[in-house]
């Protein structure tokens, strides 16, 4: 067991982990931050997407020990302290960007990563950026719509097929 410490959603945390402890397991089991989901556990589905030092990674395919000293952001840190959703989360709600919600934490974190680097993405750019995030309910249209809306673009012409 080795000691790791990192900043998660602005708060300094530490814990004892095995070499094989995945970042997602540290977040979920040790820190009880269960908003980050494990879907496939093979880095295909993106439900476990979090930000490590400002970039999106799949936390099921990164060791907790590799994140020692890093700044980690999860879905729990996205809303304001009083529960007010951020613009992206609100857009997912407004545009029905989720159904069962299992993929949503990863979708929101992946989308936040996109908008940080590309504040006004085209629809094609949004779809390209979401290649590593799988949703089995929505057919993606409303997710794409929500992300476009959160970037301040007019989405009335985007078909909800």
């Amino acid at each position: 067991m080795a000691k790791v410490s990192m900043t998660v959603n602005g708060k300094t945390v530490s814990g004892e982990v095995e070499g094989r402890t995945l970042l997602v397991d540290f977040l979920r089991s040790d820190l009880r931050l269960t908003g980050t989901h494990v879907g496939c556990d093979t880095s295909q589905c993106g439900a476990c997407t979090v930000h490590v030092d400002g970039i999106a990674v799949k936390s099921c395919t990164m060791l907790a020990a590799e994140a020692d000293g890093a700044h980690v952001a999860t879905i729990e840190g996205q809303a304001a302290a009083d529960g007010t959703l951020n613009a992206l989360q609100q857009a997912f709600q407004d545009h029905h960007g989720l159904q069962c919600g299992f993929c949503t934490p990863g979708m929101v974190m992946a989308a936040a990563d996109l908008l940080k680097n590309n504040p006004k993405p085209s629809e094609a750019e949004v779809r390209h950026h979401l290649e590593g995030n799988i949703c089995r309910c929505t057919g993606y249209h409303n997710i794409v719509k929500a992300i476009m809306a959160a970037s301040g673009q007019d989405v009335s012409q985007i078909a909800a097929e």
């Binding site: 070499g19 094989r20 395919t61 992946a110 590593g132």
Partner: protein, 263 residues
């Protein structure tokens, strides 16, 4: 996965020392190695992370005009920072996996693993790249030795990869949509002294050069130049995604597309 010790050194020398332990293995971004370990197809006693070694990260321009990329540089960084010097290589890096995978996976990790369907081996072979390790320099033509097999010794680390910049180049990837690996990928690079064509995803022997196409294209760099050539299905990978004959056919189609896109 089975448990292991973990070390994250900050210099190449410390990493080499840490790898002296029996069954120790270097860890790049882990986008292949960790899933492999979860399936218990690999069970190293120790993982030595290379991503904390600052001297192994980043893209720079060599004295001879080549692009040098640190072995621990992730694909997203290559996609953005190599774009002005070597656009075809940057485009290849920007098409690997998905955005989150590109933020972790490294060029050194990809080349050390030498997956028969990985993208980077085709770029290294077609560009005549030099694989620089902690102990020596290896020409790409000598480096790739078959599926998942390379010239690397136990505990040897890829510290840098140097790509001579071609006049024009292009990579065409026929993507297997579920894995986003190349079902077949062809990298064409035209240099002053000739054209090199490297094929990934197709052969049971891993990445290879299609020398007949190189000869034809060196005389006439146009897609028509290889009309008369054909690729044998012998030794091609056949699986549920495509037969050997299908992959052999794709090699020619993608080579023509790459030449057309590059010229």
């Amino acid at each position: 996965m089975y448990n292991f010790d973990f070390e994250k050194p900050s210099t190449v020398a410390d990493a080499v020392a840490a790898l002296a332990t029996e069954e120790a293995q270097p860890l790049g971004g882990g986008q292949t190695l960790l899933p492999t370990m979860k399936q218990r197809l690999a069970s190293p006693s120790k993982l030595v992370s290379l991503t904390g070694i600052a001297e192994m990260k980043g893209v720079c321009k060599g004295d001879d005009g080549s692009v040098c990329i640190g072995g621990a540089t992730n694909h997203a960084t290559v996609a953005s920072e190599a774009a002005s010097q070597y656009p075809a290589l940057a485009a290849l890096a920007g098409g690997i996996g998905d955005p989150a995978v590109r933020n972790r996976g490294t060029i050194g990790g990809s080349l050390a693993n030498n997956d028969p369907a990985a993208c980077y081996p085709s770029a290294a072979l077609a560009s005549g790249a030099t694989i620089v390790t902690n102990s020596r320099q290896i020409a790409a033509d000598d480096y790739f030795q078959g599926m998942f097999t390379t010239a690397l010794e136990e505990g040897e680390i890829i510290t840098e990869v140097r790509f001579p910049v071609p006049e024009v180049a292009n990579y065409q990837k026929f993507e297997q949509p579920a894995s986003r690996f190349a079902l077949v990928g062809v990298y064409v690079a035209k240099y002053a002294d000739g054209v090199r064509v490297a094929v990934t995803g197709a052969s049971e022997s891993g990445v290879f050069r299609w020398t007949e196409a190189e000869a034809a294209l060196s005389g006439n760099f146009s897609a028509d130049a290889i009309d008369g050539l054909s690729v044998s299905a012998d030794g091609m990978i056949g699986d549920l995604h495509g037969t050997g004959a299908y992959r052999a056919h794709l090699v020619k189609v993608l080579t023509k597309r790459a030449v057309a896109a590059a010229s």
